[in-house]
């Protein structure tokens, strides 16, 4: 298949060796690349029960056939491992240009094994790999490290690095690139920190060969004109994800005060209109015409963002309506290398524990000063930060409040209130890496669309289909902002690879990827009881807005979950039978 470099760079950090091997093309035909192919490699290579923070865990950087080409919205890199936050499979995706750079260096994937014996970083320049000391970089923030490494290796090099949170094995640590892009969730930064790897610097000078260059370019032009740069899509450029703040407020699903409510009285302070007044720049990822990155500068703080998730979790969910404070919090999280979703959610949980008198963290809803000290404290595990670094689940286990610790499998909820969009509840419960909005996003049809939000009818099918769709899209790899059809996806893939995939093949690959992720989790002991939602969702009605008075009745949730397993052909306990594995040719 074209579009691939047919090469994997395997790096043994313990012995400071590298080897180059052929990409497993049999697997590539079945899993494409990115999420799917990365999970297949991890599934086959990782021993069951591997401690995520041990040297036995692996971390894979995986590209796809579109990476490095002109296919729109293909600037993502997948990073796959076992999550230290959840113990599940973990695949993250990071934007910017680093994925294309790895491809230009000549590789489809980089597999990192073992661990360095002292703080180190890697410099890959085409086929030349250097193991370099990170002395002088260890302990520094991600922003300073990226600036320094580009000074050493050239402005044209691309950097993946961690902040102090990753070094200190905080299980909500992220990996940064281009200052403000993150592989954010599940503690992937802690996996890198456990390997004493501060950064990976990549410089590539090659290209990517596609099967049919003329037809690929024609197809790219056609879809740019008709399917990408359209009035329906260009909100990503004009507003970006902050547009969703007003939509969530209107639909009553904007997380507020640790998910105690679905509307926030100061939402206008953190919405897109408010952000546009402080916009200082724009940016797009490799091969993207949408350019959703918005720089916001308020006072001495500047970030690319904040994105919707940050505005929701670190804004309304902490009762912070001051955009300047959210921008500062966001910048601190990025620099210290902390995931804003988990940090915002856990901070809000600590605020509620304080409010209820269960444990005083000195954090109050809406109190900016104490809130702004949180990212550094978490990253350094200092003071209350040592507690908050446990995440919402760990904190609840220690102090109580499990009913309102808003997490699934140890991963904190993102920015959509499921009581106002019941399919989203199922999506959180069944997502392969814990509560996540990137595995299925039914709010688009429910809360932001015309489908009834407050029924389970049709939701199991909807969530399963959306999971397949995202699984195959993130395996090719494309950004989730481009909502192309599976027919178009297959057409583009065929021009690039020279194969003859159909839309039905795409659907099947999506199902296969969803199932192998579930198989990994099953092997680690995850079952139906792990596909839960916090009791708050079942017991406490929302107080205001379009979803006021709503819960998801527990028996309805259980019914929806059973229906979902049936649709998937899974067992009643959520496991996958041998016959299903054979049917999907996993």
């Amino acid at each position: 298949m074209l579009g691939y470099q047919n090469k994997v760079l395997r790096i043994d950090l313990t012995n400071r060796n590298k080897s180059v091997e052929a990409l497993n093309m049999e697997w590539a035909k079945k899993y494409i690349g990115g999420k799917g192919l990365g999970i297949k490699y991890i599934y086959e290579e990782l021993k069951p029960g591997t401690d995520p923070l041990s040297s036995e865990n692996k971390m894979i950087l995986m590209t796809g056939p579109f990476t490095g080409t002109t296919v729109p919205c293909s600037g993502k890199l997948a990073i796959i491992s076992r999550s230290p936050a959840t113990g599940t499979i973990l695949d993250c995706s990071i934007g910017g240009h680093v994925g294309a750079e790895l491809k230009y260096a000549g590789y489809d994937a980089m597999i990192l094994e073992g661990a360095c014996d002292s703080p180190s970083y890697l410099f890959l320049e085409d086929d030349k790999l250097q193991f370099l000391s990170a002395e002088g970089l260890w302990g520094k923030g991600a922003h300073e490290v990226e600036t320094e490494l580009q000074k050493r290796h050239g402005r044209d090099s691309k950097v993946l690095c961690i902040g102090p949170a990753g070094e200190n094995l905080v299980t909500m640590a992220c990996i940064n690139s281009e200052y403000y892009r993150q592989a954010g969730r599940g503690g992937i930064g802690a996996v890198m920190g456990s390997k004493m790897l501060k950064a990976i610097v990549i410089k590539g000078t090659g290209g990517v060969k596609v099967a049919n260059i003329g037809e690929t370019l024609n197809k790219v032009n056609e879809i740019m004109r008709n399917d990408t740069l359209t009035d329906a899509n260009l909100w990503a450029y004009t507003d970006g994800t902050p547009m969703i703040v007003d939509m969530s407020q209107g639909a009553g699903i904007l997380p507020t005060r640790n998910f105690q409510d679905g509307t926030f009285e100061f939402s206008a302070g953190i919405n897109s209109e408010s952000m546009q007044k402080s916009r200082s720049g724009k940016k797009g990822c490799h091969s993207c015409g949408l350019g959703c990155g918005n720089f916001t500068k308020i006072g001495d703080a500047v970030v690319e963002g904040p994105e919707y998730e940050t505005l929701a979790l670190c804004g309304s969910n902490c009762a912070i309506g001051d955009l300047g404070a959210v921008v500062k919090f966001n910048q601190l999280c990025d620099d210290f290398g902390v995931d804003t979703i988990s940090a915002g959610n856990t901070t809000a949980f600590a605020m509620e524990l304080t409010e209820k008198g269960i444990k005083d963290f000195g954090l109050q809803f809406g109190d900016v000063d104490a809130y702004l000290a949180v990212p550094e404290k978490i990253a350094r595990k200092e003071g209350i930060g040592a507690e908050l670094a446990l995440g919402a689940k760990g904190l609840a286990r220690k102090y109580g409040g499990q009913d309102f610790a808003m997490e699934v499998k140890g991963l904190e909820f993102p920015g959509y209130e499921p009581r106002g969009s019941w399919g989203m509840g199922l999506a959180y419960a069944t997502s392969d890496r814990g509560a996540c909005h990137m595995r299925a996003w039914p709010v688009a049809q429910e809360a932001y669309g015309d489908v009834d939000c407050f029924t389970i009818e049709g939701k199991a099918q909807m969530v399963a289909e959306l999971q397949h769709y995202n699984s195959v899209k993130f395996s090719t790899i494309l950004c989730d902002f481009w909502a192309l059809s599976l027919d178009t996806l297959a057409e583009v893939l065929n021009q690039v690879t020279g194969e003859s995939f159909t839309a039905a093949d795409m659907e099947k690959i999506g199902e296969r990827v969803t199932n192998i992720a579930r198989l990994f989790n099953m092997r680690e002991g995850f079952r139906r009881e792990d596909d839960y939602l916090p009791n708050r969702i079942f017991k406490d009605a929302l107080k205001s807005g379009a979803a006021a008075g709503k819960t998801i009745p527990k028996e309805e949730f259980e019914k929806m979950l059973s229906e979902y397993y049936t649709i998937r052909g899974w067992e009643a306990d959520g496991s996958i039978s041998q016959s299903k594995i054979e049917e999907l040719e996993i």
């Binding site: 359209t230 009035d231 329906a232 899509n233 260009l234 909100w235 990503a236 450029y237 004009t238 507003d239 994800t241 547009m243 969703i244 007003d246 939509m247 407020q249 209107g250 639909a251 009553g252 897109s272 919707y308 998730e309 993102p414 959509y416 909005h437 990137m438 996003w441 709010v443 688009a444 809360a447 932001y448 669309g449 015309d450 950004c479 989730d480 902002f481 481009w482 909502a483 807005g545 379009a546």
Partner: protein
């Protein structure tokens, strides 16, 4: 006639000739969906409408002084 404030979000503002918000007179009995038709916005470009700060169905019948916000189709998250 009733006067309604219409705000178009994202790239949809071009359907108000570059203005984002405008007060427009409509016939009584006009629905939220009718606004799309009257402004020439393809129905499939809009996913979500809000009236007076709350999500509203397209069948919502407009009243004097309503503030309507029209959002484009969203994807991602």
């Amino acid at each position: 006639m009733i006067k309604v404030q219409v705000t178009l979000i994202g790239s949809l503002y071009k359907y108000l000739h570059g203005e984002k918000t405008k007060k427009i007179d409509f016939q009584e009995g006009t629905s939220a969906e009718d606004i799309l038709r009257e402004l020439g916005i393809p129905s499939e470009y809009c996913s979500f409408m809000m009236v007076n700060g709350l999500k509203a169905p397209r069948s919502y019948m407009l009243c004097e002084g309503d503030e309507v916000v029209v959002f484009p189709l969203v994807s991602g998250g």
